[in-house]
Amino acid sequence: MSTVVNQGGPAGVPGHPGASITARNRRPGERAIRLGLFLAAAVSMATTIGIVVALLVPALEFFAEVSVIDFLTGTRWAPQFSPATFGVVPLITATLWTTAIALLVAVPLGLGAAIYLSEYAHRRVRKVLKPILEVLAGIPTVVFGFFALTFVQATILRDLFSFQTGAFSVLAAGLVMGIMIIPTIASLSEDAMSAVPMSMRQGSAALGANRMQTSLRVVFPAALSGIIAAIVLGISRAIGETMIVAIAAGNQARIVEGPLEAGQTMTGFIANAALGDARVGSLEYNTLFAVGLLLFALTLVINFISIRLVRRFREAY
């Protein structure tokens, strides 16, 4: 906004035909509106600050009673027992298992779908396939959880394959979570691959490469930072996913040693503890926020890695 010299007169009248050009800088209503817009944008900043404060205050009360080292390295999670122990390692092992299984499903399938959509599919085919992927992305996680528990775990893993497993397993939760993440990885990777200039594909074809060679050796490496960003965002979603693991992974916090075991993830613990009626300010209540803070910190680091990688590929082409 340029500075305005006060000229007096009816210049401030809106829509007045003779209004001077500088009049637009003078309308007080306009300033108020712009302030309002700015404040709306600032709400997002307040949200982040709010999250940090809301998590940090109870978490600090928690760490006044439990040492950070015991929390991060302890291998027994039993906040309800007396004496209570607060080793978060069991929750982390369950989170690692479900996340790893989900990635084993989502990375190959998501990238396969992305390569097909970006390099092989005709425009019309793509116009049909992409909305179907969007539908998959739109299935509520609680419905995915129901599916994991009643179909994948009970019908497929137990009845069909006769695996030795109980009512819950990190495998069933992880597999379904992987399917849930496919659209995230596929659509972001496809964006990255579509951003690779056509001239690179033409150059590759001119040298005699076929589509597979072009896709794998030219387009894929050129889009790599975007693809890694997509995978990293997938990891973040897998770590933070709550309903599928709360329903299908189990509620016992123990160190998970195999995919057919049940286990409680960090998010699973938060969801379950939230169901109990913990009094505000009690250690039980604060425990919730200590785990929440750990979860937030983990996803924050991962998100920033992803955002930086996306920026890099945006700059490249």
Partner: protein
Amino acid sequence: MATTADAARAAITGRARGGERSTRSLVFLLLLWLSLLIAFGVLVTLIVTIAQDGAGRLDSGLLTGYSASVPEEAGARAAILGSAWVIGTTAVLTIPLGVAAAIHLEEFADKKHWFNRLLELNIQNLAAVPAIIYGMLALGFLALLGVQNKNVVIGGALALSLLILPVVIIATREALRAVPDEIRQGSLALGATKWQTVWRQTLPSAVPGIATGTILALSRALGEAAPLLLLGGLVYVTFDPNGLLSGFTTLPIQIFNWTGRPQAGFHELAAAASVVLLVLLLAMNALAIFIRNRYQHRW
């Protein structure tokens, strides 16, 4: 001349075609197809199994009954009305806020200023923060205010609004960005102020894009359960929610609750309620796609 060119072309296409049809490329293409096929196969399986599981309970009792201790008498009436209240409130809170924030960032803000760059980074990060964290924010916020009863419609709507706000902002910015600069310049040249240009030209042109993005964001909020769990959304609701301070449960929470019960009858109910939820979501998605195809300007 012509013959050599033809021969050369034949040689090139021949080689290229041979390359496309080598065993390795065919296997590769097959794997690509397979990855899409698995994704879509699971989607179809999910819909079919849930429809089958819930078919027995897709009756009027599902829509009119309240929660009950016997599955035969239970229904999702309170949950459906609760979802309507929470999502309606979420829409009222989110749409003006999200659109205003997007207008600031896209039309007014100096994009090189450090604060605006920080805002942008912050919104990108917020879009990827786990949903359950927003529930903890709402819980902490209500505790800070000293609210004793955390299970209120406005609390749930607050958590869901903050959850989808980044999505609405990002979608609105994209819609605003798609409006060509000539429209703005034309308006400014006719003497309109910057705000008049935004309000009378840019924003109306972007409405279809904003509507599509907002409906998709609200459908995400409709399916979300995790943040509401923290607000004690599992209470046994046997009344119609009737205001912002009313107790509530929502459809996803009700499904979660029924899934956790041991009796098979409740699993059937959970599946039937899932069908209702999926139908609602598909309707919202279809509306969004309809608006996108019907009203979106092609400049």
